[in-house]
């Protein structure tokens, strides 16, 4: 498929998903013809617009992160979660709720980003001595397990049933009732993260010939590592702080797009960002339409979709990924 065709197709999908995210819900809202006094105009502007913007940004961030991590680690199963940054961001946010500081969304977000930042620094310290992808991925796994264990510890020590409920709800991951302030807080970091990741393309291409060869061609491996850590850490950290853990986007999207965009890592980053945004926007619109008193959580929906996908992928790649 021609690249221009693919990109315009994806942009159209993102636009469609954005409109769907604005209009869909327990009440349908038309895009045009709302009077100022119409309460639906308020819902559109104050609830659905930030929600759609966050879906767009976080989806793009998760998709691009997946593409970049897979290229960097030369591992088709890599996903932002592998680095442990999502888990660490979640730990930070849970800590805020646990300490009863969740009076404003700003504090949860700040704690979430703090967790992600700490994870990035820890990871950088752990992998600073080496540029091996295996060490990098193992450091991420260790970090992820540690953050998960500490989160579980906080949940088991939750002071009040209220805090417990809040933590569990938040952990399930959703874009529901996110405010303009949330969007204003998270989106700049997401844009910055995407910009850092966009700078890695050439180096990722060279890395497909192995580290020694990439190094011999003048690729600055430590700069590349810092761009990946910084980009994924900032962007995904900010995103997780707002939505909780939404997994598998970074895994699914690059895989679906690789046959269309080509296997070259640099050519997969932009399509994956667009594809991730489209996937998250549509998924978030779809969960609102599932009948029932409470809305299906986005994180649960993505896990239900993503886990079988992961297994199928694992099955097809058996023998290839040692």
């Amino acid at each position: 498929m021609r690249r221009s065709t693919l990109l315009s197709g994806l942009v159209a999908l993102v636009a469609l998903g954005f409109v769907a995210s604005l209009c869909a819900g327990k009440i349908w809202i038309p895009l045009w013809g709302l009077a100022d006094a119409d309460p639906r105009a308020w819902i559109m502007a104050e609830l659905r617009l930030p929600r759609a913007l966050l879906g767009l940004g976080i989806g793009a961030m998760l998709g691009a992160s997946g593409a970049v991590l897979q290229g960097y680690l030369r591992n088709p199963l890599a996903d932002p979660g592998v680095l442990g940054i999502s888990a660490a961001a979640a730990l930070g946010a849970v800590l805020a709720i646990f300490l009863g500081l969740a009076v404003s969304p700003f504090i949860i977000t700040a704690f979430g980003m703090g967790g992600a930042l700490l994870a990035m620094l820890l990871l950088a310290g752990l992998v600073g001595a080496t540029s091996s992808p295996l060490t990098f991925i193992l450091a991420g796994v260790v970090l992820s397990s540690l953050a998960g264990a500490l989160t579980a510890l906080l949940i088991s020590l939750a002071p009040t049933p209220f805090a417990l409920g809040e933590i569990v709800t938040w952990l399930m991951g959703a874009l529901t009732d996110r405010s303009r302030a949330d969007a204003a807080l998270a989106l700049p970091f997401i844009v910055l993260g995407l910009a850092l990741l966009a700078l890695t393309g050439r180096a990722l291409d060279a890395l497909s010939l192995g580290e020694a060869t990439a190094l011999s061609m003048g690729v600055d491996l430590s700069r590349t590592r810092w761009l990946v850590i910084g980009g994924v850490g900032l962007g995904v950290g900010a995103g997780v702080a707002v939505t909780g853990v939404v997994g598998f986007v970074g895994l699914i999207v690059p895989h679906l797009l690789r046959p269309l965009a080509g296997a070259q890592p640099s050519r997969l980053i932009l399509p994956s960002a667009l594809g991730g945004a489209a996937l998250l926007l549509f998924a978030d619109a779809a969960v609102r339409l599932v009948p029932g008193a409470a809305e299906l959580k986005l994180g649960i929906a993505m896990a239900l979709l993503g886990a079988p996908f992961f297994l199928v992928l694992l099955w097809r790649l058996r023998g290839e990924v040692a």
């Binding site: 290229g71 291409d205 497909s208 010939l209 020694a212 003048g218 080509g262």
Partner: protein
Amino acid sequence: MSALSATSLVLRRGRRLVLDGVSATIAPGCVTAILGPNGAGKSSLLLAMAGLLPVASGSVLLDGRPVRQLSPRERGRRIGYLAQSADVHWDLSVEAVVTLGRHPHRGAFGGLSAADAAAIARAMALTDVAGFAERPVKQLSGGERARVLLARLVAGEPQAVLADEPLANLDLAHQADSIALFRALAASGAAVALVLHDLSLVQRVADRVLLLHEGRVAAEGTPDAVLLPDTLAAVYGVRVDVLAGPGGERLLAPGGRLG
């Protein structure tokens, strides 16, 4: 014309001393063969001379300048390194792989210049891969892939070429082609170092031979001076007979293990 020279290189990997005071010069216009048993330090020497491994002591100079002080891009433009492994991690097209060879010549953004395109086309023609430029590399045989990676190296137009077992996986005809290509690179002024195993081949194609043994230089000089039965027996622990070929050239026939 750039000479690549190493002086008293000492390299450790973990607690193991891999290079123990190796001095060597890869002269421009020459093909230098690096020989030695497994574990003698051939690959490590190549990596160190390419400026890709930090050494504990000693120095590697390209035209009198330490290679570790060159910017990564300049080092990449001037020293070409061909790894032993022919792995390509993603299913790139042949042309995409060869294009990677222009990496150190290109800016951070933007397309290929006319010089880039010309170098890529020339490299693909020289290595006989132009016929399958669009094919994904994972569909190629090991030998075809090795030629594609050689084309990647050639496309970078390096002044010094360091290749780790570049003939492994190649059939006889393509071995001959690759040797001719390395000779041509040397003839155009490049300093060429090849890690090789086949003694008769080394006798035929190399101008200089560097024989490594347990991290040290066991012998250095022309093939006639280095490829002697006693020297080889001491290093490899194998009897090597020197025969005269039909044209009077020396043929080396490795035999059984000694002692």
